[in-house]
Symmetry: C2
Subunit: 780 residues, 2 copies
């Protein structure tokens, strides 16, 4: 059996699966997930197979099952599954034989289309087409359309379809069962309510049938089961006739900003009314509205265009852009992006540093309003961060490693996979001691501010975040009497294969940066915005804090390049750890192979890294280090890095671009792009890799495009890969919309808004863009 995921048509808009194999259901369920930031629906097939995972998530609707479990995004009622029985045989593509099989996600329109001819051993044959979308123009709406043509016989077709609330998160049931109801003999409604967070979900669905383009009303029978309401339809279709089944559904919840103050009965009524209207418009019209939204809100606005001899590259960035769009709840600043988007149960819908470091740059440059909303989420989650700080004996805002509800604080699970040595679950230490997230957020706020100059955001939220995170870090420092400096002991750095380390270079540098940055803006506010300074001072006791910062900041130990080889020690112990032959793991086909041979404790004592650690420090604070230091550290750490985190490859690709290792950068970009889109058929089972998908954009715009904000200045220093002839993308800089087009010879920058002049740096030289600028790259 051969798979061809990531293939593409001439235009490179389409992800195609051309073989059906039930061993790999998870792959396309996840990478072809449909959504719109409000909801995500995994692309399980209409018919059921063993091993499938059906998920319908609505962003931000977290629920905690019990005290032993962390809050997670609950798997809501499903409308996608339909049981189709053709002359008494349930549709099941593993039976009989199939031909002309194709499942395609068109990322331009957001439509998923599956076509197949199914032939039964007895000779009956059906031509089947399944289409589906989650609307980008109406975030509550889901459309489905099925066409069935019996090719060489008539068919008695039975359809069992409705709303199935028998969904769980790997068997964990988050919902209390509510009303189920049939209205007007055709509209089905099911209510469910999360058990602990008390969010009502109202799901509605309706069916519409056509035979050879004429509406028909099949015989129907209502059927209710536990948490389930379905209609059974019976319809006779002649040989060669086309049966069309349209199913239009919607989901509303009491978590929706516009519905949160309503009574449940109002939500029930308005969602039912909405569906009545949608039913009249029909699948094609509703799809058109949605694909128009894809055009205007996504592709016209911020598409990245690549001319490459390898057409996969264009597809990869469109795939990334599609997923970045559907994973981000840009409609609601009380929510953030989950590590698997809305495409799977992995990481329980929680938000990590993935947002700030790997995904946010895309939004800052492409759609700053959404970036702001994501940062507002962090501001609004300060109650949780304060709670966590207090629980741990610290001051200020200690952001949770994993974040869900605004006031939750830490929600990282405590126990993980099996320890092969002890036979017990392994303790997950990230929630306790992976603390750099608090610096990452502060850094992201600064990055947002520098790129957008959004002073309104800063006054409302940004400065306070600077100060509150600095307060945490200054309280977190530990005085080392012998060394006469401040240490940060017992942490997990970005490299999660070394737990309980002291003075992780990344953590210490970023903590220092956070405090220094806060001190800088403290002074600036005091001088320029006394009112705000006063308010913040009163709220956060800034004067006292500032004194502490001043006392401590310069005696924070920041690991520096060793004299002998310029290698920055990843932490106090790493360079003394034992080295083993990593060849087996460097060439592994699936991540995490090392844990089949060693347990976490053992791995912690080796010179082996899961992902970029020192390298990400060099990437974020690039002006701190010389080129020689960067190369020395690349040469030391990359061979010891297994890239077992999907966060690793993209950062390495950008750094390789910076270091002018273009071929390597391109190779790493390809590998990063193939984490989800590539041939590993199991890697996406628990959901797509949101950070890695953000990384695809970073490889291209930050890496090959060379766009970077450095010390508040725009730098553009492109390094197109060999295979590329042209790269074009828009960015927003200080509110101006720039279109940057890069070829091997020239870079053209156009300011489409043209309100102010933009300065930028190219190869160390400053340029000023008025409205149009053409730079001959070979001459500069």
């Amino acid at each position: 059996m051969k798979y061809n995921i990531g293939s593409h048509d001439d235009e490179n808009w389409i992800i195609t699966e051309d073989t059906f194999d039930t061993r790999y259901l998870g792959k396309c369920e996840a990478i072809m997930v449909l959504g719109n930031g409000y909801m995500g629906i995994r692309s399980a097939t209409e018919e059921a197979y063993v091993g499938e995972v059906r998920n319908t998530f609505v962003a931000g609707t977290f629920n905690q099952f019990d005290a032993n479990e962390v809050t997670e995004l609950p798997n809501a009622a499903d409308v996608i599954q339909m049981k189709i029985i053709l002359n008494g045989v349930s549709l099941d593509l593993t039976k009989g034989s199939i031909s002309n099989y194709k499942r395609q996600l068109n990322v331009r329109t957001g439509e998923l289309i599956r076509t197949v001819n199914w032939e039964l051993p007895a000779g009956e044959c059906y031509e089947l087409t399944f289409r589906r979308f989650v609307s980008l123009s109406d975030r509550h709406l889901i459309g489905q359309r099925i066409e069935i043509i019996p090719i060489n016989q008539q068919a008695s077709i039975k359809l069992i379809s409705g709303i199935n609330g028998q969904m769980t998160n790997s068997s964990v049931q988050h919902f209390s069962e509510g009303d189920k109801r049939l209205y007007d003999n055709e509209f089905i409604q099911l209510v469910q309510t999360t058990m602990q967070s008390n969010i009502h979900f109202v799901t509605n669905t309706v069916h519409h049938f056509e035979l050879d383009d004429m509406e028909v009303k099949p015989n129907q029978l209502i059927q209710m089961d536990r948490r389930k309401i379905e209609l059974n339809y019976d319809i006779q279709v002649n040989k060669g006739q086309k049966l069309v089944i349209e199913k239009v559904s919607n989901i509303y919840t009491s978590r929706d900003k516009e519905h949160q103050s309503m009574e449940l009965k109002e939500i029930k009524s308005l969602s039912y009314q909405a569906l009545k209207d949608q039913r009249l418009r029909g699948y094609e019209a509703l799809l058109l509205e949605s694909s128009e939204a894809w055009k205007t809100k996504v592709w016209d606005l911020s598409a990245v265009t690549i001319e490459s001899s390898n057409p996969f590259d264009q597809l990869a960035i469109r795939f990334a852009h599609y997923h970045l769009t559907i994973m981000t709840p840009s409609h609601d600043n009380r929510m953030n992006i989950a590590a698997k988007g809305l495409s799977g149960e992995g990481y329980k819908g929680h938000t990590f540093w993935d947002t700030e470091i790997f995904i946010l740059p895309f939004w800052i440059y492409s759609q700053p309003k959404t970036a702001r909303s994501l940062l507002e989420y962090r501001y609004h989650s300060l109650p949780g961060a304060h709670k966590k700080a207090k629980e741990n004996g610290y001051e200020g805002a200690m952001f949770p490693w994993e974040s869900a509800w605004l006031d939750d604080g830490e929600v990282t699970p405590v126990w993980g996979a099996a320890d092969i040595v002890t036979g017990q679950p392994t303790k997950i230490w990230s929630g306790f001691i992976e603390q750099h997230i608090t610096a990452d957020i502060s850094f992201a706020v600064w990055q947002y501010y520098q790129i957008t100059h959004d002073e309104d955001f800063m006054e409302r939220y940004g400065y306070e975040l600077f100060m509150d995170t600095a307060k945490f870090w200054s309280s977190r420092l530990e005085w080392d009497e012998a060394a006469q400096r401040y240490h940060i002991n017992d942490v997990v750095g970005p490299d999660e294969y070394t737990e309980h380390v002291n003075n992780n270079a990344f953590t210490n540098h970023m903590a220092y940066w956070t405090i220094k940055n806060a001190m800088c803006y403290y002074q600036q506010l005091k001088e320029t915005n006394e009112e705000l300074w006063d308010r913040l001072n009163q709220k956060l006791d800034l004067e006292v804090a500032y004194e502490k910062w001043s006392d401590r900041v310069e005696i924070i130990y920041r690991p520096m390049p060793r004299e002998e080889d310029l290698v920055i020690p990843q932490d106090d112990s790493y360079l003394n750890n034992k080295e083993i032959d990593l060849k087996k793991y460097k060439t592994q086909k699936q991540v995490g192979l090392i844990f089949k041979d060693y347990n976490m404790e053992q791995v912690s004592e080796m010179q082996v890294s899961k992902q970029a650690d020192v390298m990400i420090l060099i990437y974020l604070l690039e002006n701190l280090f010389t080129k020689e230091t960067k190369i020395a550290n690349w040469n030391y750490y990359e061979p010891r890095t297994l890239h077992d985190s999907s966060l690793s490859l993209a950062i390495h690709s950008v750094l390789a671009s910076d270091l002018k290792m273009e071929d390597l950068a391109y190779d790493l970009f390809q590998r990063a792009s193939r984490i989800d889109l590539g041939p590993n058929m199991k890697s996406s089972d628990h959901g797509i890799h949101a950070a890695s998908i953000g990384g695809i954009w970073k490889c291209i715009v930050n890496g090959f495009g060379g766009v970077r904000m450095l010390d508040g200045k725009l730098r553009i220093e492109p390094h197109l890969p060999e295979t590329w002839t042209k790269l074009s993308f828009p960015i927003y800089w200080h509110g101006e919309r720039l279109i940057i087009t890069i070829t091997k010879e020239v870079m053209i920058i156009e300011n489409q808004t043209g309100n102010k002049k933009i300065e930028f740096i190219y190869k160390g030289k400053a340029f000023v863009l008025e409205t149009f600028l053409r730079l001959d790259l070979n001459n500069e």
Copy 2:
């Protein structure tokens, strides 16, 4: 595709499925369920299929998910499923082709055996044997054994097997996740705790491998997922070699009487120690112990033997006996029998009148100790019955229609299937107004007492039950001023198709009987057992109650045969209801067809009955009515009865025997036996029909055997069906063990215990049995 469920070998001990069809998975899952009264495990296959239902129930471990749901028997962690991958292909009998397929439940030994040759399209072929049992000698123990022989190629075999706690009741999760652990690198343990009732379940499992009868240790890797712990094994098997996989598991809970006062860690430790020992003994030895228990505790003790030209009859009673054994928690008087035994989620593990009226007679006559335990459950559930009475404004004990925990009171769900007219769920009225259960229990106590003469039971529990139920009924009566008598209005009788009726004949007669019976024993105790009378009087205020009974009992309205046609009105309205042509429904292939045309309200207004109502009155209180009355009512009601309840056919069969309609009785017995064992492949999906299975025994012993307790006397009046030449069965009467053997010519009764003389009635004549009696049936 052809099914042959209910086929048999020469000895009629074996239920065989000889075709595999995934449309009908539920059938054999339920009818081939394994168990021992402590636990029941549905016979889902090792490999998974869409539509399967895996259930592992431990009797009496009820849990309530939330306030919207009633308490139910939770679906515990599964050990049965194993993923078997043969040269990279997951075992899946719907792929490739199969031959020599057979799945057999041997009810003599309690072993389930499946054999199949599986050939893949590429030509690879495997001979597979799966064996399994739940031990009757050690109630915690489950044994599995798989044999795999690669026929014409070598095989790389992967097994993924362990304990899966990702089980739910149709998506409702009753358990909190507990520890999971691998001990000694081979013993797996998983703990789960019911959320609301706080019962700990400890499940342990261990694997053992042999290649050509030599133990081997395959490569293994531990793997933990949410609520799941598994070992992955890899093993190479040569062409023609036999791989044996044994998996031995056990389940212990803190609900177990002997473990309820232990700490969880003690239960963990003792269960693990038990498995260590069991592992050493191995599958065959453990199976032998269990099948020995089947021999001595079941078949040697109380087998019914039939010589019939139709060998199905012998199989049917063995099938019934097997199920009656495994469905009954005879080890624990805090538990009772569920309407679906332990074979499915239907009726949520609740106990109905099914126990007293349909199943208890089997236990009273065959194993009185178990019958006593089941009645003790009712006694111990008096707190719940008092609660229900109080909630409804009545006195005494008002037993719940559906019963679970002893102190629950009513647990009938409030909402059921869809109403085809309104599109809303239908309200289930049984829990509110199907009140005859309280009389049924009193009647069953009396029956137990009369048959066993167990005075100890009566003094501890029985008399009090008589009095307390009578107190309820006297408080339940409603004075009708016009008629100057007591009515019982707004009830559901046994015929659940007529809701909210007044003066249901069965209910009123049984209420009268309950009060009269209590009055009789009140007097008797007062005269003969003053101490007990005193105690009960103090507890229940009997003197006051007795006065009320005396005042009321004879003016309770009891519907009597009409003068014109001897028909007893089923209730005040039935005979005036509209009549419709029922032909379509009388010949239906699946029960409940009428609800595809009418809703409950409409059905309630027709002369149509779900099941025996007046007929069951005639059956229970048979001495009240003349033969003419019986025949008149049969002729009136049977044609109006759809037998849509599995409780209907057996009662009709017994009555047909009584009325000397032998052919009809035999036909009804066959139909009753085929409710589960017959060709309807969907009827057992939610579990076997416990009452109907009790009914199979009733058809034979009460019906064809003619054994009945009438007014305290044993009556034996056999009517062998045409096809039978001999019927033999044991009964206990007043503590004596009698073996009754009936042929067309003679009846031989042997008293095996021989402690006292036994009187019995045959055709109205009294006989006395000393130790042996031979009755020439044609001459008497």
